[in-house]
Symmetry: C2
Subunit: 223 residues, 2 copies
Amino acid sequence: MSELADVAALLADRTRARILEELLGGPALPAGALAARVGVAPSTLSGHLAKLEAAGLIVVRARGRRREAELARPEVAEALEALARLAGPAARPIGLRAVNGHAALREARSCYDHLAGRVGVALADSLVARGALVASDGTFMVGDEAYLADAFGIEVAALPRRRTLVRGCADWTERRPHVAGALGAALLDVALSRGWVRRRNDGRALNVTTAGRVALMDGEHTR
Amino acid sequence: MSELADVAALLADRTRARILEELLGGPALPAGALAARVGVAPSTLSGHLAKLEAAGLIVVRARGRRREAELARPEVAEALEALARLAGPAARPIGLRAVNGHAALREARSCYDHLAGRVGVALADSLVARGALVASDGTFMVGDEAYLADAFGIEVAALPRRRTLVRGCADWTERRPHVAGALGAALLDVALSRGWVRRRNDGRALNVTTAGRVALMDGEHTR
DNA sequence: GGGACGCTTCGGTGTGCACCGAAACTTCGC
DNA sequence: GCGAAGTTTCGGTGCACACCGAAGCGTCCC
């Protein structure tokens, strides 16, 4: 029933676009928190959530008296990234706070469920250098499964098969690929659980710890 | 200066979306022809072209007294396909003419500059079966360069390097990947010049000839 | 050069939709 | 149960923008 223009119309509103960008950060967010982040009244936000849900772009789960939203499927994140690439070099942010936020986004951020930004690209590079991945212009293939198991505890064979295993995702800020797909998601899980990066509570940007800098930027993957 | 929502707003208008879908067909089209195809007044179309050009989504070349439009870069086509995937199973077309057109689109179409639809996926499969490409869930790498040279006259080393050489593009109708990127463009050129497929004059759909059926669907690539 | 063609600019019309506040509804904690 | 917190529904306001026709301006053809 839906056409391309209908989907685009959902993304064309500044508020809805900001909602989806927040959800690109990964974890589900309750409606009230989203309203505060994007700066609209709860009633306004409620209407937007209803539209996005009806279109199948997000799913909303009731948890007690709050309703938590997250992206419905990886394709949504892919379309958002494709549009962000079209939008090109992002708007020069105005104001110190915005500049800091933007610098943090460039450094490290979660892109739906995987690691992006300077750190994401560095991780991809170091995995290629180790032979764990093989780069083929703009995308990746698994190279050394044993390395992934040893260094990260990731068993490639055990990863979910519903989605693409490993995919190059052209980084929006770096213009070079980072690792997406099921393996990308697994790598972000490892980075979070080992304390290499921590989620900030104000958006998609991630804080990189000292240990994380060594592991991700310098390629010392073993804990 | 532009944000994701601004780009999406350009795609959110039904008329502009149809314009871009027409341009996805590949060759540049003059403004008047576009106006006729999408069914608006020339003055209306002119305004849309100006907006799309200002945003860098299309380029418009003056050729004599007519102005021809085409997509500005591959990223635009990629974003359009990503959105089309989100839109999901296309609207069930109403009316015999629309049904026929849709069936033709599913069978074979040009997707910006490469081959898509059932035929595009079949070609990708046969190239993998021959070892010319290596499939790695959802995307491809070049396998046997000699085969590509022998069967198609495509010298991989001579392909333009500005863009990704070979890329899997999740087919909008088939839900399986076809061959995109510089190699995908070269393959469509070969298919057109050998008469395997012919452009219809009414849109993105392609007609598959008898020879083309043998070559593309059955994998008899040598002329 | 005159006339047809192709396209753009301009002014006026109409519709769609994002926004908020107030009120109703559900869930939680005590 | 009762008040508070979280969310949705409803009504009213205002702006943005797609559309067309008429007029103007280059370009081609004879």
